[in-house]
């Protein structure tokens, strides 16, 4: 409980500073390259094209879903994945990357994951806008289900910010952990519902298990908005699984914060 209060105090102390730091984190990532901001869009575009090509053209799978072309179905689920992928790796590396704030001056450690998360969220907003635009151009106008977007975005933001606090602290102590995260990112991706509809899996155990992966829930949440046109309360099991994982990571992050906050500046 005390840790929670300290984390909140640290955030209050920095206040608006967090957004400025997020902005400078963003600028730093993209300014150094010649194409600059375009990279933020090129990467996702290439990714979606490759998967669409492999599944639709190559394997001749990828039938239209609920009357939507397969590529739109892909995009709806991939949209949050780009943020989540950046946060899986970038979150784990966030404290190490911002070492200069920790080892050379007084700076509240718990704020680092927050501003890193915000900086990725800004990109997510741009991608979201583009995604909506493409849906509109394809003739699918926004409807009442779009109201769920903030809900799923908030879940995603909270979960991955908390993940970044936990993973960032642990990675700061040991590079092993950061490498571990890097090497299982691909596994986490394929064991989630980004590429397929988890509800269609026949094996009941596997179906339930995959729902404990928050990426499944967020990804399928965005598809509920854009494709399936369902409300989040229609699948309470899914949300329940999400909150179980969420709680586990809150506890892990608090443990890491309590245990490592004072140790990190000495080790980095």
């Amino acid at each position: 409980m005390e840790s929670i209060r300290m984390i909140i105090d640290e955030h209050k102390l920095l206040g608006n500073q967090i957004f400025k730091l997020a902005k400078s984190d963003l600028i730093k990532t993209y300014r150094a390259s010649a194409l600059g901001w375009a990279w933020a869009l090129v990467k996702p575009a290439v990714r979606i094209f490759v998967f669409w090509f492999a599944f639709s053209v190559g394997m001749r799978a990828g039938k239209p879903v609920e009357g939507y072309p397969y590529i739109l179905w892909l995009m709806a689920g991939f949209l949050p994945w780009f943020y989540m992928q950046d946060m899986l790796n970038g979150g784990a590396g966030c404290i190490r990357k911002n070492k200069h704030l920790v080892t050379k001056m007084k700076f509240p450690v718990s704020v680092i994951p927050t501003f890193v998360s915000f900086s990725h969220l800004y990109i997510h907003w741009v991608l979201l806008a583009i995604n909506i635009l493409i849906f509109v151009l394809a003739g699918h106008l926004p409807d009442i289900y779009y109201l769920q977007i903030p809900f799923y975005m908030l879940l995603m933001f909270l979960f991955f910010t908390i993940w970044a606090l936990f993973a960032g602290l642990l990675s700061a102590i040991s590079k092993d952990f950061q490498n571990l995260v890097k090497s299982i990112t691909t596994a986490i991706f394929w064991m989630s519902g980004v590429m397929y509809n988890v509800d269609k899996i026949h094996n009941r155990a596997a179906r339930i298990l995959l729902k404990f992966n928050p990426i499944t829930v967020i990804s399928s949440g965005y598809r509920k908005v854009f494709i399936y046109k369902e409300w989040f309360w229609e699948d309470p099991v899914e949300l329940g699984c999400f909150f179980v994982t969420f709680t586990v990571f809150v506890l892990l992050a608090l443990w890491a914060y309590r245990r490592l906050r004072k140790e990190v500046p000495d080790v980095l």
Binding site: Q17, K20, S24, K28, R31, A32, H100, L101, V102, T103, K104, M105, K106, F107, L170, I173, S174, K175, D176, F177, R259, L260, K262, P265, D266, V267
Partner: protein
């Protein structure tokens, strides 16, 4: 006799231990298991002292005596293992040449970044900016990314910011020993100005005993994390010289 109110820094039985594991892997395992062996390095050992407003204190000692650890605990970068550190007032610290700088940003952006982190508003920073740039005197490089700076230039910028923010406590760690002679002279003069005109406390770490004698009235001699001598600067230096 100064009153309690004048106490700027108080160390109360402060001990700082660093755990030394065999490697990072052992450190990681040490998080989960109690039986991973490690050595303990006491960088500070049961330190007790108070520093009052307007004091100018020099920490003297060999490499590894625990000088920087003390400064780091005062600035709040690192935490004591046991005991309490009490600090009252705004600190401006020059712990390392590029403290708080981000090498991907330009000098000008770094001025803003660092001052923002110190809690200044945009208007205040814009007010200070010309003075900082003038003092740093690095010409067109101010709009170049910091990674293209020489270490001297970084130090100049860092120093310029630290002396421009009107601190209550100014901490200088070896910083005066970088830069060319002209810049060093400028720095020395500026520190003197600050000390004379304002109610500023100066903490000074250097291996140049002349500089220490120049600025400070009080000297604390450290060895292996323990205070051996605390008193008048001349006596402190004599004491230190006698041991080395």
């Amino acid at each position: 006799m100064a009153t309690e109110k004048d106490v700027v820094i108080r160390f109360d039985h402060v001990t700082k231990q660093y755990k030394l594991y065999k490697n990072d892997k052992a450190r990681f395992r040490g998080l989960f298991f109690k039986n991973i062996p490690y050595k303990v390095n006491k960088a500070s050992n049961d330190l007790c002292f108070t520093i009052r407003k307007g004091d100018a204190v020099s920490f003297i000692g060999r490499n590894g005596a625990g000088k920087s650890t003390i400064l780091k605990m005062i600035t709040g970068v690192t935490y004591p293992t046991s005991g309490t550190v009490e600090v009252n007032g705004k600190i401006s610290a020059l712990l390392e040449l590029s403290a708080g700088f981000d090498s991907n940003f330009t000098g000008r952006e770094n001025i803003h970044l660092k001052c923002e982190l110190m809690g200044f508003t945009k208007e205040e920073i814009e007010q200070m900016e010309p003075g900082i740039i003038e003092f740093a005197d690095i010409g067109d490089y101010i709009d170049q990314p910091l990674r293209s700076y020489s270490s001297g230039m970084k130090a100049r910028l860092g120093f310029a910011i630290c002396v421009s923010v009107k601190p209550d406590i100014l901490i200088i760690d070896e910083a005066l020993s970088v830069g060319d002679r002209r810049f060093r002279k400028k720095c020395t003069q500026r520190v003197r100005e600050i000390m004379a005109s304002e109610d500023v406390t100066l903490l000074f770490v250097t291996h140049s005993l002349d500089a220490a004698m120049d600025f400070c009235k009080r000297g604390i001699v450290l060895e292996k994390g323990t205070i051996l001598f605390d008193g008048d600067i001349d006596e402190a230096i004599a004491f230190y010289d006698a041991r080395n």
